[in-house]
Amino acid sequence: MPDQLIFGMEVFLNGLMAGVLYALVALGFVLIYKASGIFNYAQGVMALFAALTLVGIMEGQVPFSHLINAIFGTEIHHFGWHVPALAAILLTMVVMVALAWAVNTFIFKHLVNQEPIILFMATIGLAYFLEGFGDMMWGSDIKTMDVGLPQGINEVIDETTAGWFGYGFFIDNLDIVATVIAAALVFTLIVFAQYTKQGRAMRAVADDHQAALSVGISLNFIWVMVWSLAGFVALVAGIMWGTKSGVQFSLSLIALKALPVLMLGGFTSIPGAIVGGLLIGVGEKLFEFAIGAPYLGGATEIWFAYVLALIFLVFRPQGLFGEKIIERV
């Protein structure tokens, strides 16, 4: 087999894995959009915030220590204990639920019936707020995250492919774990939405707010639940990306990676988020490999997904799996 083809296959596989991670972020967007019609730009920052909180709790950092030190002239930074990963994840989840409650109570409860663009702006405001808040709470230095996920090259695949092609594929263990977790998450979410009482209530709210209210579904409860779910997805995404490339500001930019995924898959479709994520992951890696790096000077990944989604949308304005847009006067 020619070398180029084998390299291409490796790039393809890595693209699939990256796509899973994009899909993971996109999933959080879809959840909130479906249930409340809010396009939540803050999803990426929520992932960053979740990751920061997780690391902070694990390391026993004192929240707001920088601020406290600046005001009172003290020198505190750590409690001096280490929390096991699982307990820290649970604690972080509590924080994310509290955040979901606060977001709903202080912001979106007051913005019911506003135009979608206003809601979108509010989430950008929320993103700014959370960004500053997270940095102030835990400090803005780059942190490493280690919750015990395997990392590094997968030896088995390396050896097997070396046996087949005479060239070992480099596939990160973390990506494989991420894929498994993402698949499990999607499966759980679909089961949750289809077969549980709360899940059905969530879908009812998504269909029609007023009709849902009239059959006795509490909108507030559903919204807090949905934001908590999105917080949970953000936490998972934060753990994956944080382990992969460190917990730092750029983590919040994965939201920007997830946007074209959403466009491609359609804002309202969970399978769309997965397929869109995979398509974009593979597409941008292959494009960079085949055309970007050799002919265009590289780093095409930053815009390829957007341009792909843009061209695609011109032909199918609602995305791959989105609900058909019906317009009436």
């Binding site: 979608p116 707020f129 959370l130």
Partner: protein, 358 residues
């Protein structure tokens, strides 16, 4: 007492359809212009020009441009940073390519070039609507910044990849480059801001503006009553691009002097200008000014209070700024979704009846 129409008689159609029909409003406007042109240049110093006045004037132009697109025509754009970069690089190429031509002409042509690019990226708006369009404009943002970063021709193959504004003069006074006097840069930008605001105000009052607003309110209905959506949407993109391009050119040539595209015209710039439009008020020229002033002054104020007054470290103050800006945006949206312009309108109504409100 203020803003009364009573006793303000018009005897010709020209007088009736002037930009500021109310006498008090008109004289207030003249007074502001007088102060801006005749008083401010003599009293400002370097710090005020660079920290407050230049960013305010330039962002005002950008905010007016974006307001035409988002506030008047309803097409949400997140590509402002990229379009400003087009203006900046167009201006740079023109300045270095045709050094004998006046920089006035260069800035205006930069606006024209940006308008063209903006129309190109506005074409999908005919098919894509709402959020899908907002995300689609991000394609412009990322692609343009990447393009200016990678293609050497745009930055004349300079080793650093930066672009630097060479010295150019207007009437013998340097406007760009290191030798620029603060008042000269200020006046140069002020002229552009005033002319742009006047043009925008009158465009939005006329037929073109009404077509845009019809498209914004409901594009299908507008199409049925005879507004050509292709023409209306693309003209909004073109006009908006023109203003944003001028703002980008001024931002690079007069304000910064040297630009590294990824840092200066990144996605944060797009959001910043969008915030100005939202906080100022969608669909209001005055709102663009108010929003620009607000978001230019806020960081200066916070920095002075937190770092200068309370002695906090700068990084902490920067985080605090994020919290405050984010919080204010949310508070504004909850309390007054129509922005500062709406507050101004309410105040005007109150002033009209003051001091006898009944």
């Amino acid at each position: 007492m203020f803003y009364r129409e009573a006793g303000d008689f018009k005897t010709s159609y020209v007088a009736d359809s002037q930009t500021f029909p109310i006498k008090f409003d008109r004289f207030r406007y003249y007074a502001v212009l007088l102060v801006a042109f005749a008083v401010v240049p003599f009293v400002i110093n370097d710090y005020w020009v660079n920290a407050v006045f230049l960013p305010f004037l330039i962002y005002s132009i950008a905010a007016i441009g974006l307001n035409i697109l988002v506030g008047y025509c309803g097409q949400v754009s997140l590509g402002t940073g990229g379009f400003m970069a087009v203006g900046a690089y167009a201006c740079y190429k023109l300045m270095t390519g045709f050094p004998e031509v006046s920089i006035f002409v260069h800035v205006i042509i930069s606006g024209g070039i940006t308008a063209g690019v903006c129309v190109l990226f506005g074409l999908p708006s005919l098919r894509i609507k709402g959020f899908y369009l907002a995300v689609a404009t991000l394609a412009a943002q990322f692609f343009l910044v990447w393009l200016f970063n990678r293609v050497g021709w745009f930055y004349n193959y300079s080793a650093s990849g930066q672009i630097n504004a060479p010295e150019r003069t207007v009437l013998g006074v340097p406007i760009t480059g290191a030798e620029t006097a603060p008042w000269a840069a200020y006046l140069f930008c002020l002229v552009f801001t005033v002319v742009c605001a006047l043009v925008a105000r009158n465009l939005t009052r006329g037929m073109q503006g009404r077509q845009w607003m019809a498209i914004r309110d409901m594009d299908i209905a507008a199409e049925i009553i005879g507004v050509n959506p292709l023409k209306a949407k693309l003209s909004a993109f073109a006009v908006s691009g023109f203003f944003v391009g001028i703002a980008g050119a001024l931002f690079f040539a007069v304000y910064l002097g040297a630009v590294e595209v990824g840092e200066v015209f990144g996605i944060n710039k797009s959001f910043l200008v969008l915030f100005m439009v939202i906080i100022g008020g969608l669909g209001s020229i005055f709102g663009s000014f108010a929003g620009a002033a607000f978001l230019v002054l806020l960081p200066v104020l916070l920095k002075n209070v937190l770092v200068g007054g309370l002695g906090w470290p700068t990084d902490l103050a920067a985080h605090f700024e994020f919290i405050i800006v984010g919080g204010l945006i949310v508070i504004f949206l909850v309390a007054e979704p129509h922005g500062l312009a709406q507050l101004w309108r309410v105040a005007k109504e109150k002033l009209r009846l003051w001091p006898f409100p009944h």
